[in-house]
Structure formats: C-alpha cells, structure tokens
Symmetry: C2
DNA sequence: ATTGTTCTGTTCGATACCGAACACAGTCGG
DNA sequence: CCGACTGTGTTCGGTATCGAACAGAACAAT
C-alpha cells in the first residue's frame, strides 16, 4: 500500500480548508499512499502514530465483538481524517480503521501535525470542529443502529459511500455491506434487490451503480441528511 | 437544582484521581448542585460552558430523532464528566445530557478548568484518557445497539446504573428504561418480568432493586464487561 | 371515600430480521 | 475448456420486537 510521490495532489477537504501557509509547512511531512480495500490503517487498541487524509476513497471504522460479529460505527472520507482524535491527545484507537473504497490518502505523523497545530490557530480550530462533527456522527449512528430499519440504513450507507466515491459506480458486494450494517447477507440481498427494482441502484457482481440519488434519499432515514447538513455547514456546500 | 455549600465533599472519581495541589486550586471554582431526574444539563447543539462531575447519581446522554423517538447513546456517572469534550476544544454538544438517577454534582466553568489544564500536566493527561474511554464507550454502544438483544442490553443497563447508584435500590420505571433502550414499553415489561422471576431484580412501582448481580452479568452482553474493564484500568479496580 | 393518574401485566396480529440452506451464474486460474 | 471460487437469488421456519390496546393495581390529590 506504499507508493511515493514528491508533490502529491491534495483533494482532501480538511486539508484544502487550511490556509496556504499552513499547508506549505505540512507538505514536506505528507506521504502519499495508495489505499486498497481491506488495508488496515489502525487496529483496535493501537496507539495512533499517524493521521490519514483521504483524497479519494473511504475508510470504515469497525467494532468487532468477541464472537466475531462486527458492525461499522462510522466512516471517514474526503472530509475527515483517520486518527483525528490523536490530535486531541487521545492515545489509542477504540475501533479498527480499515479501507473500504479504494483511493489514496496523505499520511502524516501525529507529532508533525501537532507541531503545526501549536503554531497554527486555524488548524487547531479546524481539528476541534471536525472532531465535534465526528462525535455527532458517531452518536447519530449509535441511535440509527437502534431506531431505523435495514432499508433506511442501507440507503443512508449508499449515499455516504456515493459522496466519498466521487463516481456513480464503485465496488461493493452484498456480503460486505451486510457486514458493515451488522445484518445477514440474505436480508440485505432482498433489500438491495428491491432498491434495484425501484430503479435506485443497479449492481453486478461486486459493483454497484447509483442511478437515482433522490430515490435513495427518500428511502433513507433522516440520519443521512442530518449529518450531511452538519458537514456542509463546516466545509461549505460543495 | 441549585443548592450551595462552601466545602463540598468530593466523591467523583475523576476529581479524586487528581493530585491534591491541583484539586486545591480547582476547589474555589467548584459549585455544588443537587441533581434531580429530568434536569437537563446540556441540550443538543448547546455550547458547553460548564463541566459537571457527579458525586452520586447518573446522567443519560440522549439522541432524539425528528419524530420524537429517542435512545440513550451513553451515560456519565461518578467516573466521568458531563461536557468533557469541551475541554478538548469541542464547542457544541451533539446530544442532550439529562439527569437520570438523582444525586449531586460539582460544576465548574469550562474556562476555569482549561486554565488549570494549562498548568497541570496530570489533569491534561487525565482528560485525554477519560475522553478516549468515552469514545470507546460510545463506539461500544453503537455496536451493541445493533448486535445485541433487548434482554442483554437491559441487563447491561441495569448493571451500569447499579454501579453509579451506589445503592441496590433506585428509582426506575419500565417506561423510562424502554425509552433509554429505544424499545417499546410492552417488550421491556416482559423482559423485566422475566428477570424478576429469575430472581435477578425486584421492582415495585417506579423502583428497582438489584438482587443478583451475577445473574445480570450472565444475562448481559459482553459490552458491560468490556467497558467496565477499560474503566477499571483507568481508575483502578474500586 | 372518590377520583384521577401512574405504573405494570398482558394480549394479539403484524413485521423485520435471523440463520441456515441450496441453486445458479459470472469470473478467474490453469 | 475445465474446475474452483465468488457473488447473488431465494426459500423457509423461527424468533424478536413492534404497535396498539385494554385492564387492573398502587398511589396521590381532594
């Protein structure tokens, strides 16, 4: 998962929100990495030595129980950073961060970023705001997991993935999505089939195509809109 | 909910973990408050101006949907602090913090506490560690809400409440517990009735009595033990 | 004592999802 | 071209929980 470049292109919206001067000082510390599905960035309990800014692609934050059952408790895409809370002094990760959608990211050591935070008030402020947004997302997901149906959560998930994918088509199997949503694959296949019949999505062996976003939004719970609105408020509408 | 004392007794374990010198400087800023069930400490979206350290009693962190359905996404008792993340620079609360079990708390302004953090490395470190623990709790609950049965979550909840209550008997209605767990009251009554028949608890009109902790632990999901172990690791086993 | 309110017990049909299984089709490696 | 594997469609009985309703019991206010 390592591939180096001298002058990586920056598309991550968190980084892009920083002033040029700040970004310029960070650039020498940024390491360009290809992100491949199933790459594990941070394990549960790991000390967080690096922060990852996705330019493209998406990471899943996953909690696994002792019996092996797992469920996604959050995602991090182009508006966020994997390992964000390490910047607020939290040592260890309480979940596993694993690449879900392929793409690339810029990695920087926690210490380098904290050094810049000590200097840049803007960066410090952005980290805090983004952390607040993340907390909100996490709480929303906790409630969503309890209150909303599989179909609603499935639609929400597809919308979030679509936002981060950048393209209408991206790799995704029923099996994987069922794992993330913490449900049986058979149940998910039925929901996915219904969404396909309704013309919201189309899929073929491990690849899904978002056809009708509005349809998905109608089928989704309010959680997508709530989180999206907060994110737009922080980074602007586009 | 306001009742003042000059030299409040400190039982909150977060505060007790601080060195005397640090505590001594904080004391003049600590305001003693009675906590009554349903008192709202922080609303969703509020800026967090104060931090609350419970000596006794328990706060529920609650997320409410637009249709009025709600679910508890976490609790804060004698080992934590309501408004903790404000100390890491997060401005606004993403949920509502409401008193669940009666007791009393010490309140301090965010600014006073941050001033002391700037001085005390130990306090700063403890805040970060406790925040990390809270994140872990939140993630655990998000997963628990998806993966575990009502009975398991009910047992877990009773155990957590028991830990914070300090006594074996505390006020609790089926209605309230169903709200917190995000389920129907009728379903909860059946589970509660079963637990009573099994001799784990006894209850009468709005009051529950913990009879057999071991039984509850057996009926609970692993989430209770996982979170409890992390908490013990941070504060010691008692 | 009477009345109103809160809390609990219980029923009942409806629904969502589980958990396991099997079939089949597309894809890949040799 | 031939397996082997992976991804999807579908079934089926079982269970958990919903959502709504009603009744009775304990308590509080008057």
């Amino acid at each position: 998962m390592a591939q180096h470049r001298d002058e990586p292109e920056i598309e991550n919206r968190f980084l892009l929100a920083l002033p040029d001067s700040c970004l310029k000082r960070l650039k020498p510390h940024l390491e360009y990495l290809e992100m491949r599905p199933r790459d594990v960035l941070i394990r549960n309990g790991d000390t967080m030595e690096h922060v990852y800014f996705f330019n493209r692609g998406l990471a899943s934050l996953v909690k696994t129980m002792r019996d092996g059952r797992m469920v996604e408790i959050g995602v991090v895409g182009v508006t966020g950073a994997v390992g964000l809370f390490s910047l607020l002094g939290v040592e260890r990760s309480a979940w596993e961060s694993v690449v879900q959608a392929p793409g690339n990211a810029l990695r920087i050591s926690r210490s380098a970023l904290q050094a810049e935070m000590a200097r840049s008030h803007v960066l410090q402020d952005l980290v805090r705001r983004r952390a607040g947004l993340f907390l909100s997302e996490l709480a929303q997901t906790a409630a969503c997991n309890r209150l909303h149906s599989l179909e609603q959560r499935c639609c929400r998930w597809l919308l979030m993935a679509h936002d981060s994918a950048g393209t209408d088509s991206f790799p995704l199997t029923h099996e994987f999505l069922a794992l993330m949503l913490g449900v049986q694959r058979s149940g998910l296949s039925i929901v996915a089939g219904a969404l396909q019949r309704d013309g919201c999505i189309r899929y073929t062996r491990g690849r899904v195509n978002i056809v009708d976003r509005a349809g998905l939004e109608a089928g989704s719970c309010e959680c997508y809109g709530t989180v999206r609105a907060e994110c737009d408020h922080l980074f602007g509408k586009d």
